[in-house]
């Protein structure tokens, strides 16, 4: 399965919404990183990552999220994550990234 990334901007919350669909692994993580960093630099807004249709993420994908969070915080913005599946939440917990990211409960 490959990766598609849908983006939109919510004017009511002034927040960029990024929706990865598929799998983020060593093969697709560079594509996701490029898109996410572009959005942060272009919109200069907070970002909401909606993981409703994200089926899988690995350590390289988690690395991308950390890079994006650093980029966002360098311009005083934040990244929120929502609709995360249990298998993915488990990885955030194991790597203690659940303490770093703002993850909204489903």
């Amino acid at each position: 399965m490959s990766l598609n990334v849908i983006e939109k901007f919510d004017d009511s919350t002034a927040e960029a919404i990024v929706k990865p669909i598929g799998e983020i692994d060593i093969y697709t993580s560079e594509q996701f990183k490029a898109k996410l960093i572009d959005i942060i630099l272009e919109k200069k807004s907070n970002v909401l990552i909606d993981c409703e249709e994200l089926e899988f993420i690995d350590s390289t994908g988690l690395g991308v999220l950390i890079s994006a969070l650093k980029e966002a915080r360098s311009i005083d913005k934040e990244i929120r994550i929502k609709n995360i599946k249990p298998n993915i939440k488990k990885l955030f917990f194991l790597t203690k990234l659940d303490e770093v990211f703002n993850i909204e409960e489903n």
Binding site: D25, I26, Y27, F56, D58, S59, G63, N87, L94, T95
Partner: protein, 132 residues
């Protein structure tokens, strides 16, 4: 259905990121045939992907080389060995295990993980026991 206990299965693929999903899929299939539950199958799938990541990300392995995965099935556990030939880059046995996300994940999900290097071969060896 006849089990696959004591059988040996292997998968060989080019050392390229696009084939890691194939390794995850094959692992799910082997683990499922061996009777692991859904949670353990998911853990094995994640761990195999991370083991391949360790080789691809931390060594300067050429994409012309292969990664070989050996699955050794027995009554109580699944032993998986992910191997590649050593080149001139960093050896996986030199990885700082405390700081490496991949190692951290495999270590948490599996019963045993060992990163080894012997001669011109480096390997990540994983053990997952069946819950009886």
């Amino acid at each position: 259905m006849e089990g696959i206990v004591n059988d040996k299965i292997n998968l060989t693929f080019p050392a390229k990121g696009e084939y890691i999903s194939l390794a995850r899929l094959t692992t799910s299939s082997v683990a499922s045939k061996e009777g692991f539950n859904i949670d353990d199958i998911e853990d094995l799938k994640v761990s195999i992907g991370e083991a391949c990541n360790i080789i691809l990300e931390n060594t300067s392995i050429s994409s012309e080389q292969n990664i070989v995965i050996d699955y050794m099935v027995d009554v109580e556990a699944l032993n998986i060995s992910i191997k590649a030939r050593k080149e001139n880059g960093l050896d996986i046995s030199e990885i700082n295990k405390e700081e490496n996300f991949s190692v951290m994940i495999i270590d948490s999900l599996m019963d045993d993980v060992e990163l080894s290097s012997e001669g011109d071969c480096m390997s990540v060896n994983i053990l997952k026991k069946k819950r009886l």
